[in-house]
Amino acid sequence: MADTTMTVKCLVWDLDNTLWQGTLLEDGEVRLYPGVRELIQLLDARGILQSVASKNDHDHAWAKLEELGVAEYFVLPHIGWSPKSGSIRSIAEELRFAYGTMAFVDDQAAEQAEVAFHLPDVRCYSADEVAGLAELPEFNPKTVTQDARRRREMYQAGFRRQAAKSDFTGPDEEFIRSLDLEMRIEQATVEHLARVEELTLRTSQMNATGVHYSREALAGLLLDDHGHQVLVTSMSDRFGPHGAVGVVLVESGADVWHLKLLATSCRVVSFGAGSVILRWLTDQAARAGAHLVADFRRTDRNRMMEIAYRFSGFTGETCPCLASLPAGDVSGLQRLHLVPVPQAPPTTMRLIAPDLTAVPENRFSDVLP
Protein backbone atom coordinates (compact mmCIF):
# COMPACT_ATOMS: atom_id res chain seq x y z
CA MET A 1 0.00 0.00 0.00
CA ALA A 2 3.01 2.30 0.30
CA ASP A 3 2.69 3.28 -3.34
CA THR A 4 -0.94 4.28 -3.04
CA THR A 5 -0.41 6.37 0.09
CA MET A 6 2.50 8.07 -1.62
CA THR A 7 0.37 9.29 -4.50
CA VAL A 8 -1.44 12.61 -4.25
CA LYS A 9 -5.15 12.10 -4.81
CA CYS A 10 -6.20 15.74 -4.62
CA LEU A 11 -4.28 18.95 -5.26
CA VAL A 12 -5.76 22.10 -3.70
CA TRP A 13 -4.86 25.33 -5.51
CA ASP A 14 -4.54 28.86 -4.23
CA LEU A 15 -5.63 31.33 -6.92
CA ASP A 16 -3.97 34.77 -6.60
CA ASN A 17 -0.36 34.65 -7.79
CA THR A 18 -0.40 30.87 -7.80
CA LEU A 19 -2.90 29.69 -10.39
CA TRP A 20 -3.18 33.06 -12.02
CA GLN A 21 -0.88 36.03 -12.26
CA GLY A 22 -2.17 38.94 -10.20
CA THR A 23 -4.56 39.61 -7.33
CA LEU A 24 -8.14 39.48 -8.54
CA LEU A 25 -9.58 42.03 -6.11
CA GLU A 26 -6.79 44.54 -6.73
CA ASP A 27 -5.85 44.05 -10.36
CA GLY A 28 -9.25 43.06 -11.71
CA GLU A 29 -7.66 41.44 -14.74
CA VAL A 30 -5.71 38.27 -14.14
CA ARG A 31 -4.45 35.55 -16.45
CA LEU A 32 -3.35 31.97 -15.94
CA TYR A 33 0.39 31.49 -15.57
CA PRO A 34 1.84 29.89 -18.68
CA GLY A 35 1.61 26.12 -18.52
CA VAL A 36 -0.96 26.05 -15.72
CA ARG A 37 -3.86 25.10 -17.98
CA GLU A 38 -1.82 22.23 -19.42
CA LEU A 39 -0.79 21.12 -15.92
CA ILE A 40 -4.41 21.11 -14.72
CA GLN A 41 -5.44 19.01 -17.70
CA LEU A 42 -2.51 16.65 -17.27
CA LEU A 43 -3.19 15.98 -13.57
CA ASP A 44 -6.89 15.56 -14.36
CA ALA A 45 -6.05 12.93 -16.96
CA ARG A 46 -3.95 11.11 -14.37
CA GLY A 47 -6.99 10.83 -12.10
CA ILE A 48 -5.75 13.39 -9.57
CA LEU A 49 -8.63 15.55 -8.35
CA GLN A 50 -8.13 19.30 -8.01
CA SER A 51 -9.80 21.81 -5.76
CA VAL A 52 -9.42 25.43 -4.72
CA ALA A 53 -8.72 27.11 -1.38
CA SER A 54 -8.61 30.84 -1.98
CA LYS A 55 -9.28 33.97 0.03
CA ASN A 56 -11.46 35.84 -2.40
CA ASP A 57 -15.01 36.80 -3.10
CA HIS A 58 -16.59 33.50 -4.09
CA ASP A 59 -18.82 34.54 -6.97
CA HIS A 60 -16.25 36.85 -8.46
CA ALA A 61 -13.42 34.28 -8.35
CA TRP A 62 -15.57 31.43 -9.61
CA ALA A 63 -16.80 33.55 -12.52
CA LYS A 64 -13.17 34.25 -13.37
CA LEU A 65 -12.32 30.52 -13.31
CA GLU A 66 -15.23 29.92 -15.67
CA GLU A 67 -14.12 32.73 -17.94
CA LEU A 68 -10.63 31.23 -18.03
CA GLY A 69 -12.16 27.90 -19.02
CA VAL A 70 -10.82 25.85 -16.10
CA ALA A 71 -13.73 25.86 -13.61
CA GLU A 72 -14.95 22.43 -14.71
CA TYR A 73 -11.69 20.85 -13.47
CA PHE A 74 -12.26 21.77 -9.83
CA VAL A 75 -14.34 19.88 -7.29
CA LEU A 76 -15.55 21.27 -3.95
CA PRO A 77 -13.94 24.73 -4.34
CA HIS A 78 -13.57 26.67 -1.09
CA ILE A 79 -13.44 30.36 -1.88
CA GLY A 80 -14.04 32.69 1.06
CA TRP A 81 -12.27 34.18 4.02
CA SER A 82 -11.83 31.27 6.39
CA PRO A 83 -8.46 29.65 7.22
CA LYS A 84 -7.19 27.38 4.46
CA SER A 85 -6.49 24.51 6.85
CA GLY A 86 -10.25 24.39 7.51
CA SER A 87 -11.00 24.41 3.77
CA ILE A 88 -8.57 21.57 3.12
CA ARG A 89 -9.92 19.62 6.07
CA SER A 90 -13.45 19.83 4.76
CA ILE A 91 -12.41 18.97 1.19
CA ALA A 92 -10.55 15.87 2.47
CA GLU A 93 -13.47 14.86 4.65
CA GLU A 94 -16.00 15.19 1.89
CA LEU A 95 -13.82 13.19 -0.51
CA ARG A 96 -12.97 10.72 2.29
CA PHE A 97 -9.27 11.10 1.49
CA ALA A 98 -6.53 10.79 4.09
CA TYR A 99 -4.55 14.00 4.67
CA GLY A 100 -1.43 12.24 3.44
CA THR A 101 -2.98 12.08 -0.03
CA MET A 102 -3.82 15.79 -0.10
CA ALA A 103 -1.51 18.45 -1.54
CA PHE A 104 -1.71 22.23 -1.35
CA VAL A 105 0.01 24.85 -3.44
CA ASP A 106 0.19 28.53 -2.46
CA ASP A 107 2.56 31.42 -3.17
CA GLN A 108 2.42 32.65 0.43
CA ALA A 109 4.68 30.98 2.98
CA ALA A 110 2.32 32.01 5.79
CA GLU A 111 -0.60 30.13 4.19
CA GLN A 112 1.54 27.03 3.72
CA ALA A 113 2.65 27.28 7.35
CA GLU A 114 -0.93 27.65 8.59
CA VAL A 115 -1.95 24.48 6.74
CA ALA A 116 1.19 22.60 7.81
CA PHE A 117 0.59 23.57 11.44
CA HIS A 118 -2.94 22.18 11.59
CA LEU A 119 -2.59 19.40 9.03
CA PRO A 120 1.03 18.22 9.10
CA ASP A 121 0.32 15.32 6.74
CA VAL A 122 -0.81 17.56 3.87
CA ARG A 123 1.97 18.15 1.38
CA CYS A 124 2.57 21.85 0.76
CA TYR A 125 4.23 23.35 -2.30
CA SER A 126 5.20 26.90 -3.14
CA ALA A 127 4.10 28.61 -6.34
CA ASP A 128 7.64 28.32 -7.79
CA GLU A 129 7.26 24.57 -7.68
CA VAL A 130 4.17 24.53 -9.93
CA ALA A 131 6.15 24.15 -13.15
CA GLY A 132 7.82 20.97 -11.91
CA LEU A 133 4.84 19.37 -10.11
CA ALA A 134 3.94 16.96 -12.88
CA GLU A 135 7.42 15.45 -12.73
CA LEU A 136 7.33 14.64 -9.02
CA PRO A 137 6.82 10.97 -8.16
CA GLU A 138 3.85 11.72 -5.88
CA PHE A 139 2.00 13.18 -8.89
CA ASN A 140 2.68 10.08 -10.98
CA PRO A 141 0.28 7.26 -10.05
CA LYS A 142 1.68 3.83 -10.75
CA THR A 143 -1.17 2.95 -13.06
CA VAL A 144 -3.82 5.14 -14.59
CA THR A 145 -6.94 3.07 -15.13
CA GLN A 146 -9.74 4.04 -17.44
CA ASP A 147 -11.79 4.92 -14.37
CA ALA A 148 -9.01 7.13 -13.04
CA ARG A 149 -9.18 9.23 -16.18
CA ARG A 150 -12.87 9.77 -15.49
CA ARG A 151 -12.50 10.11 -11.74
CA ARG A 152 -13.36 13.80 -11.56
CA GLU A 153 -16.42 13.30 -13.71
CA MET A 154 -17.54 10.47 -11.41
CA TYR A 155 -17.09 12.58 -8.29
CA GLN A 156 -19.00 15.45 -9.85
CA ALA A 157 -21.81 13.06 -10.74
CA GLY A 158 -21.69 11.82 -7.15
CA PHE A 159 -22.18 15.32 -5.77
CA ARG A 160 -25.19 15.92 -8.03
CA ARG A 161 -26.58 12.55 -6.97
CA GLN A 162 -26.16 13.42 -3.30
CA ALA A 163 -27.90 16.74 -3.78
CA ALA A 164 -30.79 15.00 -5.52
CA LYS A 165 -31.03 12.47 -2.71
CA SER A 166 -31.20 15.07 0.04
CA ASP A 167 -34.03 16.76 -1.87
CA PHE A 168 -35.94 13.50 -2.18
CA THR A 169 -38.42 12.47 0.50
CA GLY A 170 -39.86 9.06 -0.22
CA PRO A 171 -38.94 5.42 0.13
CA ASP A 172 -35.31 4.73 -0.82
CA GLU A 173 -36.36 2.27 -3.47
CA GLU A 174 -38.34 4.97 -5.25
CA PHE A 175 -35.33 7.24 -5.15
CA ILE A 176 -33.14 4.48 -6.55
CA ARG A 177 -35.63 3.92 -9.37
CA SER A 178 -35.59 7.64 -10.13
CA LEU A 179 -31.84 7.41 -10.79
CA ASP A 180 -32.35 5.45 -14.00
CA LEU A 181 -29.60 3.01 -13.07
CA GLU A 182 -27.99 0.69 -15.54
CA MET A 183 -25.77 -2.22 -14.61
CA ARG A 184 -23.57 -3.88 -17.18
CA ILE A 185 -21.91 -7.20 -16.42
CA GLU A 186 -19.34 -8.41 -18.90
CA GLN A 187 -16.49 -10.83 -19.24
CA ALA A 188 -13.31 -9.07 -18.19
CA THR A 189 -10.71 -8.34 -20.82
CA VAL A 190 -7.04 -7.58 -20.34
CA GLU A 191 -7.87 -3.86 -20.34
CA HIS A 192 -10.11 -4.33 -17.30
CA LEU A 193 -7.49 -6.07 -15.20
CA ALA A 194 -5.90 -3.04 -13.55
CA ARG A 195 -9.31 -1.89 -12.31
CA VAL A 196 -10.33 -5.41 -11.29
CA GLU A 197 -7.15 -5.78 -9.27
CA GLU A 198 -7.80 -2.41 -7.67
CA LEU A 199 -11.33 -3.50 -6.76
CA THR A 200 -10.11 -6.64 -5.02
CA LEU A 201 -7.63 -4.46 -3.10
CA ARG A 202 -9.89 -1.61 -2.12
CA THR A 203 -13.25 -3.22 -1.39
CA SER A 204 -12.54 -4.45 2.10
CA GLN A 205 -16.12 -4.01 3.32
CA MET A 206 -17.68 -5.73 0.36
CA ASN A 207 -15.17 -8.46 -0.39
CA ALA A 208 -16.57 -11.91 0.33
CA THR A 209 -13.27 -13.55 1.12
CA GLY A 210 -10.92 -10.66 1.83
CA VAL A 211 -8.59 -12.26 -0.73
CA HIS A 212 -6.78 -9.92 -3.09
CA TYR A 213 -5.95 -11.07 -6.58
CA SER A 214 -2.95 -9.65 -8.38
CA ARG A 215 -3.19 -8.60 -12.01
CA GLU A 216 -0.96 -11.52 -12.95
CA ALA A 217 -3.19 -14.04 -11.17
CA LEU A 218 -6.28 -12.54 -12.82
CA ALA A 219 -4.61 -12.59 -16.23
CA GLY A 220 -3.86 -16.27 -15.68
CA LEU A 221 -7.53 -16.94 -14.95
CA LEU A 222 -8.62 -15.15 -18.13
CA LEU A 223 -6.47 -17.44 -20.22
CA ASP A 224 -7.18 -20.63 -18.34
CA ASP A 225 -9.86 -22.76 -19.92
CA HIS A 226 -11.23 -24.58 -16.89
CA GLY A 227 -14.50 -22.72 -16.85
CA HIS A 228 -13.15 -19.74 -14.96
CA GLN A 229 -15.10 -16.59 -15.56
CA VAL A 230 -13.83 -13.20 -14.50
CA LEU A 231 -16.77 -10.82 -14.72
CA VAL A 232 -16.59 -7.10 -14.30
CA THR A 233 -19.61 -4.99 -13.39
CA SER A 234 -19.98 -1.32 -14.19
CA MET A 235 -22.85 1.02 -13.44
CA SER A 236 -24.16 4.37 -14.58
CA ASP A 237 -27.17 6.52 -13.84
CA ARG A 238 -28.72 9.74 -15.05
CA PHE A 239 -26.01 11.75 -13.31
CA GLY A 240 -23.17 9.96 -15.04
CA PRO A 241 -20.96 6.90 -14.76
CA HIS A 242 -20.00 5.04 -11.57
CA GLY A 243 -17.33 3.18 -13.51
CA ALA A 244 -16.31 -0.40 -12.75
CA VAL A 245 -17.86 -1.25 -9.40
CA GLY A 246 -17.77 -5.01 -9.00
CA VAL A 247 -15.89 -8.17 -9.77
CA VAL A 248 -17.08 -11.77 -9.80
CA LEU A 249 -14.84 -14.78 -10.09
CA VAL A 250 -16.74 -17.99 -10.76
CA GLU A 251 -15.71 -21.43 -11.95
CA SER A 252 -18.65 -22.96 -13.74
CA GLY A 253 -18.62 -26.74 -13.73
CA ALA A 254 -21.41 -28.94 -15.03
CA ASP A 255 -23.03 -29.63 -11.65
CA VAL A 256 -21.76 -26.89 -9.46
CA TRP A 257 -20.80 -23.28 -9.99
CA HIS A 258 -18.12 -22.22 -7.57
CA LEU A 259 -18.29 -18.53 -6.73
CA LYS A 260 -14.77 -17.78 -5.53
CA LEU A 261 -15.02 -14.06 -5.16
CA LEU A 262 -17.60 -11.32 -5.17
CA ALA A 263 -16.41 -7.83 -4.40
CA THR A 264 -18.28 -4.60 -4.96
CA SER A 265 -17.32 -1.00 -4.44
CA CYS A 266 -18.67 0.74 -1.35
CA ARG A 267 -19.93 3.47 -3.65
CA VAL A 268 -22.77 1.28 -4.91
CA VAL A 269 -23.73 -0.53 -1.71
CA SER A 270 -26.76 1.69 -1.26
CA PHE A 271 -28.09 0.61 -4.66
CA GLY A 272 -28.04 -3.04 -3.62
CA ALA A 273 -25.51 -3.81 -6.36
CA GLY A 274 -24.17 -6.92 -4.63
CA SER A 275 -27.64 -8.43 -4.33
CA VAL A 276 -28.47 -7.69 -7.96
CA ILE A 277 -25.27 -9.45 -9.07
CA LEU A 278 -25.99 -12.42 -6.79
CA ARG A 279 -29.56 -12.71 -8.07
CA TRP A 280 -28.35 -12.68 -11.67
CA LEU A 281 -25.78 -15.40 -10.96
CA THR A 282 -28.43 -17.45 -9.17
CA ASP A 283 -30.65 -17.20 -12.23
CA GLN A 284 -27.81 -18.20 -14.53
CA ALA A 285 -26.87 -21.20 -12.40
CA ALA A 286 -30.54 -22.24 -12.23
CA ARG A 287 -30.73 -22.22 -16.03
CA ALA A 288 -27.55 -24.27 -16.21
CA GLY A 289 -29.01 -26.76 -13.72
CA ALA A 290 -26.03 -26.34 -11.39
CA HIS A 291 -25.81 -25.76 -7.65
CA LEU A 292 -24.13 -22.58 -6.49
CA VAL A 293 -21.40 -22.64 -3.84
CA ALA A 294 -19.89 -19.41 -2.58
CA ASP A 295 -16.61 -19.00 -0.75
CA PHE A 296 -16.98 -16.76 2.23
CA ARG A 297 -14.39 -15.81 4.79
CA ARG A 298 -15.35 -13.54 7.62
CA THR A 299 -13.07 -10.56 8.04
CA ASP A 300 -13.59 -7.81 10.58
CA ARG A 301 -15.10 -5.62 7.89
CA ASN A 302 -17.18 -7.69 5.48
CA ARG A 303 -20.31 -8.44 7.50
CA MET A 304 -22.43 -6.77 4.80
CA MET A 305 -21.30 -9.40 2.36
CA GLU A 306 -22.33 -12.26 4.62
CA ILE A 307 -25.76 -10.69 5.00
CA ALA A 308 -26.03 -10.32 1.21
CA TYR A 309 -25.26 -14.02 0.72
CA ARG A 310 -27.54 -15.22 3.50
CA PHE A 311 -30.41 -13.04 2.40
CA SER A 312 -30.02 -14.32 -1.13
CA GLY A 313 -30.73 -17.77 0.29
CA PHE A 314 -27.22 -19.18 0.76
CA THR A 315 -26.91 -21.40 3.85
CA GLY A 316 -24.26 -23.39 5.65
CA GLU A 317 -26.17 -26.63 5.02
CA THR A 318 -24.21 -29.45 3.57
CA CYS A 319 -24.75 -30.96 0.11
CA PRO A 320 -22.98 -33.80 -1.75
CA CYS A 321 -21.89 -31.27 -4.40
CA LEU A 322 -19.52 -29.66 -1.90
CA ALA A 323 -17.32 -32.75 -1.96
CA SER A 324 -16.49 -32.17 -5.63
CA LEU A 325 -14.75 -28.87 -4.90
CA PRO A 326 -11.05 -28.64 -4.10
CA ALA A 327 -10.26 -27.66 -0.53
CA GLY A 328 -9.79 -23.95 -0.08
CA ASP A 329 -6.26 -22.73 0.53
CA VAL A 330 -7.35 -19.88 2.79
CA SER A 331 -7.91 -20.51 6.47
CA GLY A 332 -11.31 -19.73 7.90
CA LEU A 333 -13.01 -20.29 4.57
CA GLN A 334 -16.70 -21.19 4.70
CA ARG A 335 -18.65 -22.63 1.81
CA LEU A 336 -22.19 -21.33 1.54
CA HIS A 337 -24.56 -23.34 -0.58
CA LEU A 338 -27.65 -22.59 -2.65
CA VAL A 339 -29.92 -24.67 -4.84
CA PRO A 340 -30.75 -21.94 -7.32
CA VAL A 341 -34.17 -21.19 -8.75
CA PRO A 342 -34.86 -18.78 -11.62
CA GLN A 343 -34.99 -15.14 -10.56
CA ALA A 344 -36.97 -12.21 -11.86
CA PRO A 345 -34.94 -9.32 -13.31
CA PRO A 346 -34.20 -6.45 -10.92
CA THR A 347 -36.91 -3.83 -10.47
CA THR A 348 -34.53 -1.01 -9.57
CA MET A 349 -32.22 -0.98 -12.58
CA ARG A 350 -31.66 -2.10 -16.15
CA LEU A 351 -29.35 -5.09 -16.32
CA ILE A 352 -27.25 -5.92 -19.35
CA ALA A 353 -25.41 -9.18 -18.87
CA PRO A 354 -24.00 -12.06 -20.87
CA ASP A 355 -25.53 -15.51 -20.97
CA LEU A 356 -23.05 -17.76 -19.19
CA THR A 357 -25.04 -20.84 -20.11
CA ALA A 358 -24.63 -20.23 -23.85
CA VAL A 359 -22.40 -22.53 -25.86
CA PRO A 360 -18.75 -21.43 -25.79
CA GLU A 361 -18.81 -19.95 -29.32
CA ASN A 362 -21.27 -17.34 -28.09
CA ARG A 363 -19.43 -16.73 -24.90
CA PHE A 364 -18.82 -13.08 -25.61
CA SER A 365 -22.22 -12.14 -26.94
CA ASP A 366 -24.46 -9.97 -24.83
CA VAL A 367 -28.02 -10.99 -24.16
CA LEU A 368 -30.40 -8.18 -23.47
CA PRO A 369 -33.08 -8.87 -20.88
Binding site: D172, S270, S275, R303, M304, I307, R310, F311, G316
Partner: protein, 89 residues
Protein backbone atom coordinates in the same frame (compact mmCIF):
# COMPACT_ATOMS: atom_id res chain seq x y z
CA UNK B 1 -31.29 -1.48 28.34
CA UNK B 2 -32.46 -4.66 26.66
CA UNK B 3 -35.32 -5.29 29.05
CA UNK B 4 -38.87 -4.89 27.89
CA UNK B 5 -41.79 -6.99 26.83
CA UNK B 6 -42.33 -8.48 23.42
CA UNK B 7 -44.90 -5.75 22.84
CA UNK B 8 -42.36 -3.03 23.43
CA UNK B 9 -39.84 -4.78 21.16
CA UNK B 10 -42.49 -4.96 18.48
CA UNK B 11 -43.39 -1.34 18.98
CA UNK B 12 -39.78 -0.20 18.69
CA UNK B 13 -39.20 -2.21 15.52
CA UNK B 14 -42.37 -0.82 13.99
CA UNK B 15 -41.42 2.74 14.85
CA UNK B 16 -38.00 2.31 13.30
CA UNK B 17 -39.49 0.90 10.11
CA UNK B 18 -42.20 3.52 9.82
CA UNK B 19 -39.62 6.23 10.30
CA UNK B 20 -37.33 4.74 7.68
CA UNK B 21 -39.91 3.68 5.11
CA UNK B 22 -42.20 6.64 5.79
CA UNK B 23 -45.39 4.61 5.74
CA UNK B 24 -47.63 2.79 8.22
CA UNK B 25 -46.89 -0.86 8.76
CA UNK B 26 -49.11 -3.76 9.76
CA UNK B 27 -47.17 -6.19 11.94
CA UNK B 28 -47.86 -9.27 9.83
CA UNK B 29 -47.32 -7.64 6.46
CA UNK B 30 -44.60 -9.25 4.31
CA UNK B 31 -42.33 -6.26 3.80
CA UNK B 32 -40.22 -7.88 1.13
CA UNK B 33 -43.00 -9.34 -1.02
CA UNK B 34 -44.84 -6.02 -0.88
CA UNK B 35 -41.76 -4.25 -2.18
CA UNK B 36 -41.63 -1.91 0.81
CA UNK B 37 -38.06 -2.82 1.55
CA UNK B 38 -35.33 -4.25 -0.61
CA UNK B 39 -32.40 -6.46 0.18
CA UNK B 40 -30.21 -3.42 0.70
CA UNK B 41 -32.42 -2.09 3.47
CA UNK B 42 -32.46 -5.59 4.94
CA UNK B 43 -28.78 -5.19 5.78
CA UNK B 44 -29.45 -1.97 7.59
CA UNK B 45 -32.22 -3.72 9.49
CA UNK B 46 -29.92 -6.49 10.73
CA UNK B 47 -27.40 -4.02 12.05
CA UNK B 48 -30.10 -1.87 13.61
CA UNK B 49 -31.76 -4.77 15.45
CA UNK B 50 -28.41 -5.90 16.81
CA UNK B 51 -27.53 -2.49 18.13
CA UNK B 52 -30.98 -1.56 19.39
CA UNK B 53 -31.57 -4.80 21.30
CA UNK B 54 -28.01 -5.92 22.08
CA UNK B 55 -28.24 -9.23 20.24
CA UNK B 56 -25.99 -10.92 17.70
CA UNK B 57 -27.72 -12.29 14.61
CA UNK B 58 -25.37 -14.79 13.00
CA UNK B 59 -25.20 -18.00 10.99
CA UNK B 60 -28.49 -19.68 10.17
CA UNK B 61 -30.49 -16.96 11.91
CA UNK B 62 -29.39 -14.63 9.16
CA UNK B 63 -32.07 -15.45 6.65
CA UNK B 64 -34.64 -13.37 4.91
CA UNK B 65 -37.53 -15.33 6.43
CA UNK B 66 -36.65 -14.05 9.88
CA UNK B 67 -37.06 -10.48 8.68
CA UNK B 68 -40.15 -10.69 6.52
CA UNK B 69 -42.58 -9.18 9.00
CA UNK B 70 -42.46 -7.12 12.17
CA UNK B 71 -43.81 -10.16 14.02
CA UNK B 72 -40.99 -12.41 12.84
CA UNK B 73 -38.34 -9.87 13.69
CA UNK B 74 -39.88 -9.52 17.14
CA UNK B 75 -39.77 -13.23 17.80
CA UNK B 76 -36.19 -13.46 16.52
CA UNK B 77 -35.07 -10.63 18.80
CA UNK B 78 -36.91 -12.07 21.82
CA UNK B 79 -35.49 -15.56 21.23
CA UNK B 80 -31.92 -14.27 20.93
CA UNK B 81 -32.30 -11.90 23.85
CA UNK B 82 -33.60 -14.63 26.15
CA UNK B 83 -31.02 -17.19 25.08
CA UNK B 84 -28.26 -17.74 27.62
CA UNK B 85 -25.25 -15.68 26.63
CA UNK B 86 -22.33 -18.06 26.70
CA UNK B 87 -20.60 -18.10 23.34
CA UNK B 88 -19.80 -14.51 22.61
CA UNK B 89 -17.76 -12.89 25.28
Amino acid sequence: MTTGSAESVQQRIREFLEERIKTNIVVDKDLFASGLVNSMFAMELVVHLEQEFGVAIVGEDLKLDNFRTVERMTSLVCRLRDAPVTDHA
